[in-house]
Amino acid sequence: MAKATGLTWTIEDADHMTQAEIYGEVLTQIGLKDKRVVALTADLARSTKIGKFEEKIPERFYNVGIAEANMIAIASGMTEAGLIPVVSTFATFASMRAAEFVRTDLCYQKRPVKIIATHSGTSFGQAGTTHHCTEDLAIMRSFAGMTVIAPADAYETARAVAACIDWPGPVYIRIGRGFEPPMHKSMDFDFEIGKAIRLREGRDLTIIATGVCVLQALEAAERAAQNGVSVRVLDMHTIKPLDEDAVREALLDTRRIITVEDHTVIGGLGDAVADVIARTGKGCAFRKLGYQDCFSMVGYYEDLLHNYGLDADGITDAIAQVLKAEFEQDEDWEDEI
């Protein structure tokens, strides 16, 4: 396949510290200070970068072999001793192979186990559908008591990992394969679980994006600005609990909303946002970008995002469509929202 347009990076471009490497480093720093923190993996210490923890703190590192469900239950048991286990494996295994263990042994029992699920979405592009994970946001947000976070880049991942340790109950942090480009310039920004980051102001339309798609949304908003269209961009890093106020404000201020996620359009960010919109009873031009009830083809991640309309090109097309879309106007809009 020809190199797709829309992205300026490739998976070979890893001379900066990657998303996964930064989380590995941050987690190690946390572990050195906080003896409650233990790290577990299921034969993916190197792939997930949680192996950095093992290098520095081997006495609090457990590799359970290729047994993800077992890892989750063991982590649950460890909390009985006051420990805070951080487990890392690929998103597809954490969210689906081990799903019932996550639900029953972590969420139901309110156990403070933190899951760092790597290689989410189609970030492991060439590995194919067995190693893609476009369902985890939907699965995880359906579990009562689970907090679900999809950081936009390495810096945000670092902030999320730091924030999750003392956050009550289980947390699911979804990141990519580790080669995603940075969106923030440093770790110095306001980050709060459950609070969207308004990255760009806009009047005509709001893009609510999560994970790797946030950077693409910013790029699309920049292009729109060059054409005189004012686009707000929300980095919705926390899928649950969702920042409903930010969604309602976007609805009130711009009346046109696009959601973007490296995930199926069923049950993820888009549906969470749609639920908030529907409850307001207000008309809104709305479009969900994601995988449209399909499994992804194999390929380079940037090609896949382009093919499925999740990069700046695809979002730009969606902006044009949503600007043209009609919706019911309410005379008393501002009174009732």
Partner: protein, 276 residues
């Protein structure tokens, strides 16, 4: 070896609590009574002799941990916890009723004394491995006990946990299998063969002991032997009788889950009392 007085104390307690299980089953309309009776002496031995627990401090951090991996035995577990004073045993009369803290499978956040919420089979051994590893990590001396059903051993996750327990040399973990030889749909050996169960665990690196699961001397001797083992986890394969103590229930898969009418209750109670 127990002295005669201690043996009688445990046997009397077991009989009294078996009667209580019949009463609660009668009142609540149905329960997993067959498995509650097969596991019964194991749980009585643990709670009234072997384990270090304090009903006045259910969250005491130095207590031994207990996991009923066969969560459907919850009625037997709840009756013991009520008897020990973890909660008012009168509450058990609401078992299964809408809004009750007690369902068939006990919830640790609702029932004081329950360390882990179970019910979905194949979770408990891994939870136990975690609890035991956690104790070792923080330097605590408490021991973790997991009671499994035999049918549950068809779950692959049991063997993931068995492998991990052995790999990490979790000797502060003891698993006891209630080997009543029945799962829901029939005898384990014709449904999904388990034997040689002890040899399977040995092959996974465990110390394996085989005992009569209704004999207090054998149960407590085996637990003592397990506690003395410092290199590997121990499994006690406890041969039991499903529905033990009530003649019309014994070895009948139909009594996995059932209710009791007045005549059955009276007959069951008479049978248990005659077992003196």
């Amino acid at each position: 070896m127990l002295d005669a007085k201690e043996r009688k104390r445990l046997k009397d307690k077991a009989r009294q609590l078996r009667e209580k299980i019949v009463e609660v089953t009668y009142t609540c309309g149905g329960a997993h009574i067959g498995g509650a009776f097969s596991q019964h002496e194991i749980l009585v031995a643990l709670y009234y002799k072997a384990m270090t627990v304090d009903p006045k401090r259910p969250d005491w951090e130095d207590r031994d941990r207990f996991i009923l991996s066969k969560g459907h035995g919850g009625i037997g577990h709840a009756v013991i916890l009520g008897d020990l004073g973890y909660f008012d045993p009168k509450l058990l009369m609401d078992f299964n009723k809408t809004g009750s803290p007690f369902g068939m499978h006990l919830d640790r956040l609702k029932v004081p004394g329950v360390d882990f919420s179970t019910g979905s089979l194949g979770h408990g051994l891994a939870l136990g491995v975690g609890a035991a590893l956690g104790a070792r990590q923080v330097g605590k001396a408490w021991h973790t006990y997991v009671v499994l059903s035999d049918g549950e051993c068809a779950e692959g996750s049991v063997w993931e946990a068995a492998m991990a327990a052995s790999n990490f040399k979790v000797s502060n973990l003891t698993a006891i299998i209630d080997r009543n030889k029945f799962s829901l749909d029939g005898p384990t050996e014709t449904l999904m063969r388990l034997e040689p169960l002890d040899k399977k665990f040995e092959a996974f690196g465990w110390k394996a002991l085989s005992i009569d699961g209704h004999d207090f001397d054998q149960i407590l001797d085996a637990i003592e032997e397990a506690r003395a083992e410092k290199e590997r986890p121990t499994v006690i394969v406890a041969s039991t009788v499903k529905g033990k103590g009530v003649d019309f229930m014994e070895d009948k898969a139909a009594w996995h889950y059932a209710g009791l009418d007045d005549a059955m209750r009276d007959k069951a109670l008479a049978c248990i009392r005659a077992g003196k």
